[in-house]
Symmetry: C2
Subunit: 268 residues, 2 copies
């Protein structure tokens, strides 16, 4: 039985406007930010928390987000660096189903997918203003078909029937692996805390808080289903970090990301 | 008993970013838009629906909205053009209490102020992200004091105790004068429909819909308490206009505003 290890898998970058990153504050202008996945090697199996975006999808549906992603910055590319194949992954956890957090799910088709019950429901019947967020449903072809969403032509997707495990409430899904409800950005958003032997717990905010600057300003992003809930979730993350002496890892923070360990380096 | 007349009182203009006007759509960049009040001469008395912004307040608290307002574009200035004084106004109706809709209330201190119950509550205990919206509480000095909000030094405000009539639900407050609940932009937002003898009813959206372009795109503004409710309210306005064969008058529409009758001209 080995200690839990955490790898950050670089997934390239995207561009949004400053008014997207900092709701009604800005300033406006292009802001390039990183996307990444989290690989957790746990005694119960290998988990991946979020899977970044799919380059072709963004180029087709949201080219104005100007994706920059090398082959190495895909899920298969990042796993190869650690000597793993996509079939080695046992569980995918999705914080939520925006395209830049589930674009790599389709590569992990042996894994069981874990998410919040409300989030899976939202994929098929979201608000009109969430249309672009939920535009990449390749991770769940059946839902995409039922919702009348286009799927890219791909014989693999025709065969692919993912297994889901849906949850509600806070959950310790494996020893030291905690999911905390942080809704607002979307209907069923989860943040993840990983307890490790040799360091402080890592608390992955996902899109409940894009960056340290959002947290410092208590300013949510412009993409949200419920701004009041979003703000409460950000406050909750702050309190959880304090309570557990955890380090916050933000989802889209250009500054913080440069200081994170990447590639084959890991936290343990 | 004379027919109801409607005057539009030009209140100058402000600037916001395109990402404010069209939530998550943009494009970004400065957008200058008009603010105006609506004067209704009714057999029951003189009503003013919304009162625009106070130039000094905006310069002090939100100078980045670059106010342009002449002396003629204040409430006293606009009333003078029609041969009225501020004391001639019997009722102020506020769609909501954002600074650009209640800045002129303080001039109308003989009037009874009508608003949604939830909106008056929101003034004293709104969400943090609504701070700038609810920044001008000179219309209700007591609420401002209780909420710890600064008031400009003004001996008149010290004396001023406005009377309020708060409502909930849709209401015909006088014959042919309808208030329709359109929440989302704020907690207790009202739109106003005025039935006239010689033309289609006028349906003033207030900030439930800034402009024709917002309506065409079904795109709400970035300033909102609840985006889902906002969208429903916009849909509701569309249906009300259809049902009553009413003409929609938008709150901040640079294009539509040029076609509206202003100054001493009136609708009847």
């Amino acid at each position: 039985m080995s200690d839990t290890k955490v790898y950050l898998l670089d997934g390239g970058s995207l561009v949004i406007d400053g008014f997207h990153a900092f709701w009604n504050r800005g300033p406006g202008g292009e802001l390039r930010f990183p996307c990444y996945a989290v690989l957790i090697e746990h005694e119960d199996g290998r988990y991946i928390f979020d899977t970044g975006y799919d380059y072709d999808h963004v180029q087709r549906v949201l080219p104005f987000e100007k994706p920059i992603q090398s082959k190495e910055q895909t899920i298969p590319g990042q796993l190869a660096k650690i000597g793993l194949r996509t079939d080695d992954i046992n569980y995918v956890i999705n914080s939520h189903y925006h395209f830049d957090h589930c674009g790599g799910n389709k590569h992990l088709n042996k894994a069981c997918t874990i998410c919040h019950t409300k989030e899976l429901e939202a994929c098929g019947c979201h608000q009109p203003f969430e249309h672009l967020g939920y535009s990449d449903l390749t991770f769940a072809p059946e839902i995409a078909r039922k919702a009348g969403k286009p799927l890219p032509p791909d014989p693999v997707l025709d065969m692919y029937t993912p297994t889901f495990q849906t949850l509600t409430g806070d959950q310790e899904i494996a020893k030291g692996l905690w999911l905390f409800e942080t809704p607002g950005h979307t209907a069923g958003h989860y943040s993840l805390m990983v307890e490790l032997k040799n360091r402080r717990p890592m608390l992955f905010t996902a899109d409940a808080c894009y960056s340290q600057k959002n947290m410092d300003m208590m300013c949510i992003s412009s993409f949200h289903l419920d701004p009041v809930a979003s703000l409460k979730s950000m406050q909750r993350l702050k309190e959880l970090a304090e309570k557990h002496d955890a380090e916050l890892f933000y989802s889209h923070d250009p500054e913080s990301f440069t200081g994170y360990q990447k590639d084959a380096a890991y936290y343990s």
